[in-house]
């Protein structure tokens, strides 16, 4: 039986100058790279497959399997791209990791690049986190100076270049193919698949694109073995992962635990809902995953558990809302986000998210018309599954699940503003002058 929390990636967070190469090496850093370089690339791919690592960027696709899709007989260069564009609302695991322990990612990048036969790895990091970019740039520079990256890595004759690229502020650039377009210097818009990036990705060449946390998990798997990784987690969702808790909890923060911990267990660790309040609804994996209610507190937070509850694990971004919260208001804010971030390529998303916002504003103001709830769902039907990427599906997921779980609250929008039903100041995490909590 493993412990409730299992710090691996977050082990050194908060330690003095944890981001420096010297500190990283002192706690065992880059030993895994040495071990990996002595293995055959195929052995490494098999190791990651056996461990059962699944992509931590939201989709949960088996990482080893993705690596094995790279056609090694393709004459084009192979590329590794790390998706560090963490932007899913509520998600806060990759940015703290890059700020506190960027070498964990850099070591993972070097091992993974070697495994797939790549000589050039790119880390696409969102630009809206200046200090994270600084730490990441420095870590890569330190790795080059130490001979872990660049020409003749650790004397093996292999060359592996690592390039840090800052995005310019677009949620859509966290979508893998839009990211590749942006990295190529074009406007970030998703591509049609097939062909998939593994066959034709960056510069139409075989590309593996993985989330920060996925790649950052590789050094510990190489160092400790597949059986160690399998000792954590559930039958089909192996390993440890970082859960982000925010909102109306007593203590918000990151919790690294084996896959499958429940919301009840996490809430307990976070000190419960803030004093004097009770849970109304929460998102399991960011705003793009259907919301859940207290009825789901004991469902394991792994891929299968969340699917069985009619939602998705996503990025494990647990946004918690108590009874002071208007579901209508929350849904409107979320859909405003999707509308703002829509790249505009696909009509259902570009126009539909705009219409959803118009309708939701009516609900918030108490001026929605009889039948508008069904109109909302009807528009969702016209958007969901009908675009090149899943951004619009995110807007649909939160709207549909909000209406399905709280229909009567939406219907009150036919006559009463949301801010009268649920005075907004009461949901704030801070008090302003003259306000009682």
């Amino acid at each position: 039986m493993t412990d409730l929390l299992t710090p691996v990636l977050s082990e050194q967070w908060g330690q003095d100058r944890s981001w420096k190469l010297g500190r990283y090496e002192a706690t065992g850093g880059y030993r895994a790279l040495r071990k990996a370089l002595a293995m055959q690339p195929l052995e490494l791919i098999d190791l990651v497959k056996e461990a059962g690592l699944r992509g931590r960027g939201g989709a949960g696709f088996p990482t080893g399997m993705k690596w094995s899709f790279v056609p090694q007989d393709n004459p084009n260069p192979k590329y590794l791209v790390v998706n560090a564009d963490e932007s899913e609302p509520g998600t806060c695991k990759d940015m703290p990791l890059l700020m506190a322990s960027p070498h964990t990612l850099v070591e993972g990048v070097l091992i993974s690049a070697y495994a797939i036969g790549s000589k050039q790895a790119f880390i696409y990091c969102r630009g809206e986190v200046l200090h994270v970019i600084r730490r990441l740039q420095q870590a890569v520079k330190e790795a080059y100076e130490a001979g872990y990256a660049g020409k003749n890595v650790m004397g093996t004759g292999r060359d592996i270049d690592v390039i840090v690229h800052a995005g310019a502020g677009a949620y859509i650039c966290g979508e893998e193919t839009a990211l590749l377009d942006s990295l190529e210097g074009r406007r970030g818009q998703p591509r049609l698949r097939p062909p998939f990036p593994a066959v034709a990705g960056l510069y139409a060449s075989p590309t593996v694109i993985n989330n920060v946390e996925s790649i950052a998990s590789v050094p510990s798997i190489v160092a400790n073995g597949a059986a160690w990784f399998q000792a954590m987690g559930t039958e089909k969702s192996k390993g440890m992962t970082i859960y982000s808790l925010s909102g109306h909890v007593a203590n918000a923060g990151q919790f690294e635990a084996p896959m499958g911990i429940t919301m009840r267990q996490l809430l307990d660790l976070a000190g419960g809902i803030r004093a004097g309040h009770e849970l109304k609804f929460f998102t399991p994996g960011g705003s793009s995953t259907p919301i859940l209610t207290p009825a789901s507190l004991d469902v394991p937070l792994d891929y299968e558990g969340m699917a069985s509850a009619g939602t998705m694990l996503g990025t494990k971004a647990l946004q918690v809302f108590d009874e002071t919260t208007s579901v209508v208001r929350t849904t409107l804010r979320w859909v405003e986000f999707y509308k703002h971030e829509s790249c505009g390529k696909c009509t259902p998303c570009r126009e539909g998210s705009w219409w959803l916002v118009q309708l939701l504003m009516r609900f918030e103001a108490g001026t929605a018309e009889e039948g508008d709830v069904d109109k909302l769902l009807d528009i969702c039907d016209n958007i969901g599954g009908k675009s090149f990427c899943a951004l619009a599906d995110g807007a649909v997921a939160c709207t549909r699940s909000a209406v399905n779980n709280f229909r009567s609250e939406f219907e009150q929008g036919y006559h009463t503003p949301a801010w009268e039903l649920f005075p907004y100041a009461k949901s704030a995490l801070f008090t302003t002058e003259g306000d009682a909590r």
Binding site: Q138, A166, F255
Partner: protein
């Protein structure tokens, strides 16, 4: 955020104070980052030209370390690779 630097636990009052300071040209340090520079200097860093400030600021925010702190208090850790727990008996399929 100011120039893409983190300012944690802000309130409307704290933001007013922060804006006052910035307008007065006082030095302002991010709660989870470095000293605030000009926007032009920040953009240079994003473009790939380091400004030497990477070692400023803390390792991580207080909230980011919450789980790690609780684990340390309770003596929880990842399994020891040399002493793995015995696999649990398989549950009946649900």
């Amino acid at each position: 955020m100011v120039n893409w630097e983190f300012f944690d636990n802000m309130t409307p009052e704290k933001i007013d104070e922060l804006i006052e300071k910035l307008m007065n040209g006082e030095e302002v340090v991010a709660s989870r980052g470095a000293t605030i520079t000009s926007w032009k200097e920040a953009e240079r860093v994003l473009a790939g030209f380091p400004d030497g400030r990477a070692d400023e600021g803390p390792s991580a925010g207080h909230a980011s370390c919450l789980g790690r702190r609780i684990a340390a208090e309770r003596g929880w850790s990842a399994p020891d690779p040399n002493n793995l727990p015995a696999p649990e008996p398989k549950e009946e399929s649900k």
